[in-house]
Each structure stands twice: as C-alpha cells, then as structure tokens.
C-alpha cells in the first residue's frame, strides 16, 4: 500500500449510488424513471430449501414415474377455463413497451409449450392473437386500444388493478417509444410522454367491481375466465375483496415485478416481496374457504423452475414470468455490446427499457433495432426456457414424492433464515421451530389441509395427501 495515498472510504448512508442519484435529479427536476425491476435485495425464495424424500418419505423415480404438470385456471364460473400444460404463464407486457417481434416470439413460444400470453397497456396486437393460441386480454385503467371485439376474441380477461413494480400508480411510456403506430393504437399524439391513469374510468371500488365483472361476463357470454391482477400490497384484504367481487383467478405481482418504465422509487420502496405475498394470499383464500375454488397465480421475480416450485409449495396454482421471458428472448445478452455502452451500461446490468434503445430489439419501436430479434429463434429460446422450468419443477416435485406438481406443500420446505421462517411459517432448518406469530396468519403457519385430514382421521380414513402433518405434529 502506498502510505502517501489516503485510503478511500465510501459511506453507507451517502454511497456513490445515492450521490449519483442526487446529481441526476438535480439536472432532471423530477423523479427517475427506468425499466426492468427492483435492484434492491428483498427476502426471496433463495431463503427456502426443499427437504426431499429419503428414508422417511418415498421419492418418485425421476426417470420413470409421471409427474403431472397440467394446470386449470378459471374453474369458478367460466364455461371454458384455461388449461395450461405447465403451471407457468407469460405476464402482461404491452405492445409499445415491447416490439412487435418480441410479442410475436412470446406468442409462438407459448403456443408451442401450451401456456398463455397476456396483452398489455395498449390493446391487442393482431399478430400476437395469431401467434398465441391462448391469449389473456387485459382491461386496464387506461383502456388504450381497448376494443370489445378484441375482448371477445380473447381466451380470458384480466382486470388490472396494478402491478408489483408500481402498485397504486398509473403507467408511463416515454415519448421516444410512442411511435406513430403506437400512438395510433392508443389514440395519442405520437411522441407524447404518455401517462396512464391509475383508476379505472368506469368504476371505483370493490363494490363497483362486482358490477364491472358482471358486465364483462355478459359481454363474453359467461364463457371465459375473469382474472384480476393486483400489485402485492395489502394482499389479504385485496384477495378477499377480489374473491367477493366474483373473480375466477387472482394474479398477484410482488414488488420484484418487472416494468418497461416506472419511477424507480416505486420499484424499490413499494409493495411486498413475492415470497410474503403468496403466503398471505393463500392464507386469505383458506380463511374464506376459497382455496381451490379461486386460483392463485404469482409473479414478480420468478427466475426459474426452483422459484416456481417453491411458489407452488407455498400455495400458488401457477406462476407468471415477465422479466424471465424477456431474458430468454435475449435481454442483457452480451451482444451488440457497443450499444450497451452507448446507453451507459453493460450486458447483465442493463435496465434501460424506458429509452427505447434496447440493444437486442426487445423493448424498442425502432425498426432497425427490432430487426436484431429474429422471431423464430427468439421463440425457440423462450420455449426452451419454459421447458427447462417445467423439468426443474417436476424434478423437485418427484424428489419430494409428488406425482403432481400441485401436491407440493409447505411441509416440503425448510427455512434457511429466521426471516424466511417468520414470513412463510416454514420451520427453520435443523429444527422443528417456526419463528412467527401463528395467531396472525394461522393458515400460513399450519398445514392447509389440517381440517380435512382431521376429518378423515376422525372417520377412520387416511389423509387425502400423503405425508401431510399438522402444525402441532410438526412442532411436537
């Protein structure tokens, strides 16, 4: 060490990142807007581990025995529920946020693997409808591009209350991405900084939503499922209100959820992590007797099959991927590196979706940039990624002795940290101790099928699902 050079010490409170943030805002005069998702570390699925079968449980033979992945969404009221070949869907992302090639590639991939894609804040792109065999049509506060005829062409509807990246706030699409085509679709002047309202134009609270859902069912002859998408905030209350309003499926987006453009303070400082959200939602559904009647889809930071399997074990019926699907397309891939540098970033660190200058042609309306995304090759990549997720989920389920991925349960998990145990009600590794308050979330801290098993035991029958013990039995 050079003794004449003082040691450079960076502060924790006024870190270089915080100082840079102040410098930028001192020029901008507003909050910062960017794409991607939160850069903060939240409590995550990484703090759980599976405890597969060994001697006390019998595993399924990984290479021979079937493990079912079929998932049905919308069984409550719809005549034609959605049937997925695997418990994964592709989240709503608008044509406008994404390029035409990206939307078509996602649609083709989804068709190939038997899942759904979802439109976004801008309406239905006909090319996506043609590419995606099962398409969920979003009904957003903005109603940009909303068309009743397109609504009747959809396989399901999704009323969007909010998303995890920016709960309680409307959308933003900066002027550089509002091309002539996007402007025409959204009935806006090209080049405007589009701001979307946060409230629906025609209804306000959950009591109105009852009537709105009936309207949508009337408009679609009660045939297709109605989802509601909520940014994870006051999850228990929101879930109960949505169920009471008459939805078929709840899509819950944790704070890790992605976005093409949002104020970064919302990404980092609003909403709750997906890990906590799924537990809270499951407990709410169980409390009101709607577990298994209304399906739960969770999204927000689902990075692969492991996260998906853990979400299923904690109570989700399916997961939804957005950022993961874009990364599979080519997002942040180390190609066209000079264009990453021109944005002031690097591959693996790029979150500049809001600029419209996506180096790999995904989140852009620039025709030259969009050409960099070959639709068929991109569709292959996304299909491969989803298939890899399916195999990962199945592997973990078989290892836990489950012949159906939906039989994964909290009992198959252990918490690696006290925080994770507190939030999920799963015992800490090496102990049978749960750190939390069972009185707050009694269902989360107990076996969800306890009552059913107790009933069967009282009647001399075996529990419906093997290996399930009550909370009391686990902690005895």
């Amino acid at each position: 060490m050079d003794s004449e050079k003082p040691l450079v010490r960076y502060g924790q409170l006024w870190s270089p990142e915080v100082m840079e943030d102040v410098h930028v805002k001192a020029e901008l005069g507003r909050y910062r807007i960017r794409g991607f998702s939160t850069l903060k570390k939240f409590i995550s699925f990484d703090e759980l581990t599976f405890v597969p079968c060994t001697l006390s449980r019998i595993p399924l033979e990984g290479y021979r025995e079937q493990c079912t992945t079929e998932t049905v969404l919308g069984t409550r009221f719809a005549k034609k529920p959605i049937v997925l070949k695997t418990p994964i869907t592709i989240a709503g992302m608008s044509f406008g946020a994404l390029s035409r090639n990206a939307k078509v590639a996602l649609g083709r991939a989804a068709t190939r693997v038997g899942i759904t894609t979802t439109t976004g804040d801008g309406g239905m792109l006909m090319a996506e409808r043609e590419a995606s065999e099962q398409l969920v049509y979003q009904v957003l506060p903005s109603r940009y591009g909303f068309n009743p005829h397109h609504m009747r062409m959809a396989n399901a509807l999704e009323i969007v209350i909010g998303q995890g990246a920016k709960p309680g706030t409307g959308g933003v699409l900066l002027g550089q991405k509002v091309s002539e085509e996007i402007g025409a679709m959204r009935e806006l002047p090209a080049g405007v900084d589009q701001r979307s309202p946060v409230r629906h134009p025609d209804w306000t609270g959950p009591d109105d939503m009852v009537v709105k859902i009936e309207e949508l069912r009337e408009a679609t002859d009660w045939e297709i499922p109605i989802y509601v998408k909520i940014g994870a905030s006051r999850v228990a209350d929101d879930v109960k209100l949505a169920v009471k309003a008459g939805v078929d499926v709840i899509v819950l987006d944790g704070t890790e959820g992605g976005t093409a453009a949002s104020p970064d303070i919302l990404m980092d400082h609003t909403g709750i992590p997906t890990l906590a959200a799924v537990v809270e939602a499951k407990a709410a559904l169980q409390e009101i007797g709607m577990d298994g009647v209304v399906q739960l889809v969770v999204s927000g930071g689902i990075r692969g099959g492991v996260d998906a399997a853990k979400a299923l074990a904690l109570g989700a019926d399916a997961v939804s991927i957005g950022t993961g699907a874009l990364i599979a397309l080519n997002c942040n891939r180390p190609i066209y590196i000079e264009d990453y540098h021109a944005l002031g970033t690097e591959p693996y660190a790029c979150h500049h979706c809001h600029t419209g200058r996506c180096p790999v042609g995904i989140t852009t309306q620039d025709p030259e940039l969009m050409k960099r995304l070959d639709v068929d090759e991109a569709a292959d990549r996304v299909a491969n990624f989803i298939n890899s997720m399916t195999m990962e989920i199945q592997m973990l389920a078989r290892a836990c002795g489950k012949s159906n991925v939906h039989d994964l349960e909290p009992e198959d998990l252990r918490a690696l940290t006290l925080d994770a145990s507190f939030v999920t009600g799963v015992p800490v590794v090496g102990t049978n101790l749960v750190f939390g308050r069972p009185d707050l979330w009694p269902q989360a801290h107990s076996n969800g099928h306890r009552d059913e098993m107790n009933h069967h035991q009282a009647n001399g029958k075996q529990g419906k699902k093997k290996g399930k013990r009550t909370h009391e039995e686990r902690t005895r």
Partner: protein, 299 residues
C-alpha cells in the same frame, strides 16, 4: 265489450307497448308468419301476461303499428335480457323495448348489431356499454358509465346520468339531456358526448380525442391533462383542469354546435354565444422541468 271496440283497444296497446318476447321465443305458434304479413292481413299473436304467464290471443294489423318487441325486465334475469337482445337483433328485429328496467345494471352490454333499444325507465350501471352500432334511448335516468368503451352507435338519455358517462368511448355519440356526474368522458378516445345540463368533477380528464359539449356548468378539473380533443362549455367552469386552455371559436365550431344541439332538441339550453372552446395547452405532452408547478400535480 264488443269485438270491434276491443280490437281497437288492443291495437292501441300494441302500438304503444309492442309485442312481448319471451326468452324461449314468441308465444305465438304463428311466429314464422310474423314477418310475411301483408299490410291488410290479420295475424293472431299471443300476449304473455306478465303476472301469471297466462296467454290471451288477440289480433293485430302489422301495417302502421310499431311492431317493436318488448322484454319485461321484471320477469327476466340480466343474462336472459342480454341474450334475448342479441338473438333478436341477429334475427333481424330492429327495435326492442325494455319495460320495467328498474335500474338494472348491464342492460344491453356489447351489442354489435344495428338495433334500437328503448329503455322505458331508468337503467343502472353500464347501460349500452361496449356497443358497436346499436342505438339506445333511455327514457329515465342512467347509472354510472353509460356507454363506456363504446365504439359506435348512439345513446340518448332523456334525464340525468351518474359518474363516468361516456367513459373512454372511442366513437359514437352519448347524449344526456339532463345533468351528469363526475368524470364524464374520462379518457375519451373519440366520438361525441353531449350534456344538456351540468357536469361534475374532473370531466374530460385525460381526454385523448373526440368532442364534448356541455350546455351547463362544470365542476373543478374540467379537461385536466387533456392530450387532445375539444370541449365546448356553455356555462361556467369552477376551475379549469391542468393545461386546459380556452381558445377562440370559429364559424365551423359554431355551425357544429348549432346543428348538434338542434339535432338533440337542446338548442334552448344555452345561447351559442355563451359557449367557450377548451382544448389542451400542450404543456403536459412532454415533461419540462421549467413547468414544475404544472407537473407536480400531473406526474
């Protein structure tokens, strides 16, 4: 009562009430002859008594009578009402009367056929919403969001309507001859909204395209954050919304106002000279830090 006098009374009843329809189809065994009648041919039809469903047979003359079909909402579910409307429209019926609507919600949702639906009373939420090409005439009041997300067609409400009137319409015309509530024409994307009376808070919020005529007064926030489009205001605005500005009316504006108000019998509501033309000032199209006082509310 002599047969001749009874026939006259029944004909008058048919003229004003129309022919009732049940979800299972016409009660008459002669329904397939209904449309093939000559102008002088008598045709037996069955009327269903709304109370105990008893059937009485009468005769009517098709010529010069209003052969509109009626649906008695008091005896039908919303599903039955809407299914009947769509089926009747597909079968070629061009006028359907909804009697005893009793402020039911979701009457005539997503009708895509050129049929006229007369609501003989008050409708609830979402009357005529998401319609493309149909005509609605509501003789009473309307609840929230009449005509929301409409693509094309016409809705005329004789009395008042609640909040969200014409929310996010993309085309067509919504006329309310009385007063309307808050957020009228919010996020309007095209078409025409005409209000004979006053309008509430945040009318025209985030308007994108289209035209609105308000003959009366407007509460706070008129035209807030408009991207584009035009609002003609006959009365006074408590407070214009962010970036809503008044501009000069030209001859074309005046002609449009005069013709439109005359068409809907609203010319007497306000003198042409009282109207002001309101549009977007354009300052909220792209963020500017120099306009902080404007943007602090809008963003």
């Amino acid at each position: 009562m002599e047969r001749g006098g009874g026939l006259v009374l029944v004909l008058l009843a048919i003229r004003f009430i129309g022919v009732p329809y049940t979800p299972d189809g016409f009660a008459s065994p002669h329904e397939d002859k209904h449309k093939a009648l000559s102008s002088t041919q008598l045709h037996p039809l069955s009327l269903q008594d709304g109370g105990d469903a008893s059937v009485s047979t009468i005769f009517t003359i098709k010529e010069r009578v209003c052969m509109a079909v009626t649906l008695d909402c008091a005896t039908l579910t919303i599903r039955e009402i809407n299914t009947s409307i769509k089926r009747l429209a597909l079968e070629g019926e061009r006028e359907i009367h909804l009697i005893h609507p009793e402020a039911r919600h979701n009457l005539g949702v997503a009708v895509f056929d050129p049929v006229t639906i007369v609501v003989e009373g008050t409708a609830g939420y979402f009357c005529g919403s998401m319609n493309d090409g149909a005509t609605f005439h509501v003789l009473g009041n309307c609840g929230w969001s009449v005509g929301e997300c409409m693509l094309n067609g016409e809705i005329v409400v004789e009395r008042n309507a609640a909040s969200g009137t014409g929310a996010s319409i993309r085309g067509g015309t919504v006329v309310v001859k009385g007063h309307v509530g808050a957020r009228t024409g919010v996020a309007q994307k095209g078409g025409l909204i005409v209000v004979g009376g006053d309008t509430g808070y945040m009318t025209g919020f985030m308007m994108q395209r289209g035209t609105m005529i308000i003959c009366g007064n407007a509460a706070e926030g008129l035209g807030d954050s408009m991207y584009s489009g035009t609002i003609y205001l006959g009365g006074e605005a408590t407070q214009l919304g962010n970036d809503a500005v008044i501009s000069e009316m030209n001859e074309e504006d005046k002609r449009f106002l005069s013709e439109t108000l005359a068409k809907y019998g609203l010319s007497h509501k306000r003198a042409l000279a009282d109207f002001k033309k309101i549009g977007s000032g354009g300052r909220l199209h792209n963020f500017s830090k120099a306009d902080f006082e404007l943007w602090r509310v809008a963003m």
